[in-house]
């Protein structure tokens, strides 16, 4: 009489050591546990934060080209920057649900003080920035700027929630640094101190301040969020339309690709997802 095979080692069993029980093997293997498959439209909505970021980069590049060709007055760009700063700051505060009203006034004063400090520091630095990389050849500058902007787009933080500690926010700090460095190297190819100042000011607006505004915008209803994205994309495309039609089609196709095709590729690639779980995995201890 042969007993049933048991998955134990201590018992002497009447089965050879290479006996494999019939049926599904390995028995304790779980494939794709707790997998929630993505669906298309939520992915498209989420991808909007990437397209918004790309649109900001394109707008910045268009502004740079106009400053370089002197078709845009740097003073009007400065005015526009200051104006959009206030608009953005008011929106940012309006969307803030958590903080208490009593602290608001001192917070506003602090913000305005540091904004003025930043403004003056940039203004005094702009002659230095204009000659900083002037001796470097243009080819190197374009290549460097391209690399830095790609780095910026790759490392940017596209998550909805705000980073909880300094470590989580590391990649977004690197991303801001890359973008500001890119604008500094680009600005040395501008003709006047005023245009250098306006460009660096604009870069801080769009790469340092806008991402935190974007995170709060994402908490808006989906329609408002989609509308903002659409406005920014159309604005970027329109800015390039008068500069070069080829580039305009290029960036339009990039934006469409990221919004509509990239989520589809992710959905398609999901069929190859294969998470293997079993008792051999390192358990996660639950401590109260």
């Amino acid at each position: 009489m042969v007993g049933n095979w048991e998955k134990v080692l201590w018992k002497k069993q009447a089965y050879a050591d290479n006996y494999v029980p019939q049926g599904l093997y390995p028995a304790s293997l779980q494939k794709n546990p707790n997998l929630r498959p993505y669906t298309y439209w939520p992915l498209v909505v989420l991808s909007c934060s990437i397209t918004q970021h790309l649109a900001v980069i394109f707008v910045f590049l268009a502004v740079f080209v106009r400053l370089k060709e002197e078709t845009l007055d740097p003073r009007s760009l400065v005015c526009l920057s200051v104006f959009s700063f206030f608009i953005g700051y008011i929106t940012w505060n309006a969307l803030d649900g958590s903080s208490r009203a009593s602290e608001h006034f001192t917070n506003h004063l602090k913000t305005i003080k540091s904004a003025i400090m930043m403004f003056l520091a940039l203004m005094s630095l702009s002659p230095v920035l204009r000659t900083l990389t002037a001796a470097t050849s243009s080819d190197s500058i374009w290549a460097l700027a391209a690399v830095l902007f790609s780095l910026n787009a790759l490392l940017a933080d596209y998550t909805v929630t705000e980073p909880k500690n300094a470590h989580e926010g590391l990649s977004s700090v690197l991303s801001i640094n890359a973008a500001v460095s890119a604008s500094v190297v680009l600005s040395s190819h501008l003709p006047t101190d005023a245009s250098v100042f306006s460009l660096v000011l604009f870069s801080i607006q769009s790469f340092a301040l806008f991402p935190s505004l974007r995170r709060r915008l994402q908490l808006l209803p989906i329609a408002a969020w989609l509308l903002t994205s659409l406005v920014m994309e159309v604005f970027a495309i329109w800015l390039f339309a008068t500069l070069s039609l080829v580039v305009m089609w290029l960036i339009a196709s990039v934006l469409v690709f990221v919004t509509f095709f990239a989520p589809a590729i992710l959905l398609w690639a999901q069929r190859y997802k294969n998470i293997l779980r079993g008792p051999w995995d390192v358990a996660v201890p639950k401590v109260n």
Binding site: V2, K7, V8, L9, W10, K11, K12, A14, Y15, A16, D17, N18, Y19, V20, Y25, P26, A27, S28, L29, I275, L276, G278, P279, W280, D281, V282, A283, V284, P285, K286, V287, N288
Partner: protein, 485 residues
């Protein structure tokens, strides 16, 4: 499918001195080389397993040598260990935790010379992180030597280290003659990691597990873990003995120990071991003012393990992953009641009335310890009986016998020729297959070069190694003289 050899298995295993040697042999004596990065003077489960298995195979009349990498400052070359075990320390530098870099070819000149001069028939590689073992499997077929591989650990599938090791393992295990795993969970894991599937003979569409994957548990010498004779008093001591690292679940210990101390005023802890998590234990002890309840021993030498174990009556293991859990077995053998997290191969090693299981959660561990304290307090656990039971479960004679049977099957099977090896290697995939085939072919060319450069005639062969009969005579002589004194 019941094995045809079970009757011989049950008669062949048994206490060593009572049977004449002829009856143990399932097979003719052969020469075996154990190859692994992990061996004495390093200390650990794999190291001990290789040593004990070698000693027991020598006892059965086989010739066994061990090949490992050198240890600084001067452990290079040939050394002998006590029961006539010859160890070759090859001058390779370990990179991290005593493992060498996987470089495929550099070991061939050493291995070829050693394997040929020792007339080796079969190599037995150990541990999946040991690259010298994988290299041994890759090179051996060139000299007509058969290969066996033992996997001692569990790996996941989703971290970088595992992905890399698994890729290397799939390549070497494609052409290995037999694989041994230490637990059923370990086998499921190794089969998946090494892709040890083959097309079924009846239906080529169906993939089934290779016939050459065996489960042979790790084991211990029960005589070395005799339980403490005197019964415990009113205080119950819980022993925790392991490296203090994250994978050993120290977080759970830190969370549960103060609560157990608060719930049971008559319970003390002894914690042995050292590691990066020691500081958290010290902080916990200080924060809850438990200096007189929780004793921290620091690192414990292997020979002191029994004395630490015999001070307690409950053994606590909170590992988050464990392939076999030899420490649990040692503690149970020393008469302790075991509380363990239910991970990896741990549920397989002991019957359920000797061990309490907990999920790796704080509350569950606390309730399992409480249950164990109750059992021990009410005298529901008899240490002497537990020791006697484990004696019947595990023995090195049994393990050596089962391993020998694997060797026998491997030695009697047909060896693959080079073309078959190339075809099988190409099945690995469009990229990996080509890479591994190139490695295989380059290895062949390198071997041919070595055959020309160091001809076999010029090798210094080992003619006389170890005489079992002479050894027996010497031992008996020594016993007689000691009796006369």
């Amino acid at each position: 499918m019941p094995s045809g050899n079970t009757t011989t298995a049950s008669t062949a295993c048994g206490p060593f001195p009572r049977r004449p040697p002829q009856q143990w042999h399932v097979m003719d004596p052969i020469s075996i080389a154990m190859i692994s990065d992990f061996f004495h003077p390093a200390v650990g489960g794999v190291e001990n397993h290789i040593y004990m298995l070698s000693a027991n195979l020598i006892r059965r009349g086989h010739k066994v040598i061990v090949i490992t990498h050198s240890h600084g400052p001067d452990r290079v070359g040939v050394r002998w260990l006590l029961p006539g075990l010859k160890v070759y320390y090859i001058p390779f530098l370990p990179i991290a935790s005593s493992a060498t870099l996987p470089n495929f070819f550099t070991s061939l000149p050493y291995l070829r010379t050693i394997l040929l001069r020792e007339h080796i028939h079969l190599i037995h590689a150990h541990a999946s992180l040991s690259s010298i073992g994988h290299e041994g499997i890759l090179h051996s077929h060139l000299m007509g030597i058969r290969t066996v591989f033992t996997d001692h650990s569990l790996f996941g599938f989703d971290d970088a280290a595992s992905i890399l090791t698994n890729k290397l393992m799939i390549g070497t295990l494609k052409n290995v003659d037999a694989v041994i795993c230490v637990s059923h969970t370990g086998r499921e894991n190794t089969v998946l990691r090494g892709q040890l599937f083959e097309r079924s003979e009846e239906d080529p569409e169906v993939l089934e597990v290779r016939k050459s994957v065996y489960v042979i548990p790790n084991t211990l010498v029960p005589e070395q873990f005799k339980p403490n004779a005197q019964p415990p008093g009113d205080t119950i001591t819980i022993v925790f003995l392991s490296r203090l690292t994250y994978r050993k679940g120290i977080d759970l210990l830190v969370a549960t120990a103060p609560k157990i101390c608060a719930l049971f005023p008559n319970v003390n802890f002894i914690v042995g071991g050292d590691g990066p998590k020691l500081i958290e234990l010290l902080q916990m002890r200080e924060k809850h003012l438990l200096q007189d309840r929780i004793e921290l021993l620091g690192s414990v030498r292997p020979k002191d393990v029994l004395s630490v174990l015999s001070r307690g009556s409950i053994f606590l293991n909170t590992s988050l992953t464990e392939s076999f859990g030899i420490a649990i077995l040692e503690a149970a053998c020393a008469g302790l009641y075991v509380v363990s997290t239910k991970v990896g191969g741990v549920p397989e090693i002991l019957p359920e009335d000797m061990i309490s299981f907990a999920k790796p959660e704080e509350d569950d561990v606390i309730s399992a310890i409480s249950e164990a304290i109750e059992i021990v307090q009410n005298g529901g656990h008899d240490p002497i009986r537990a020791h006697e039971r484990i004696k019947t479960f595990y023995s090195w004679e049994d393990v050596a016998n089962r391993t020998e049977k694997v060797y026998d099957v491997v030695m009697k099977s047909r060896q693959m020729d080079l073309m078959e090896r190339i075809n099988r290697t190409m099945e690995l995939g469009p990229f990996a297959g080509i890479i591994y085939t190139i490695i295989l072919l380059v290895d062949c060319l390198f071997f041919l070069f070595l055959e020309w450069w160091i001809p076999r005639e010029s090798l210094h062969y080992v003619h006389h190694n170890w005489d079992q009969e002479r050894f027996k005579e010497v031992v008996e002589e020594a016993q007689n003289t000691s009796r006369q004194d």
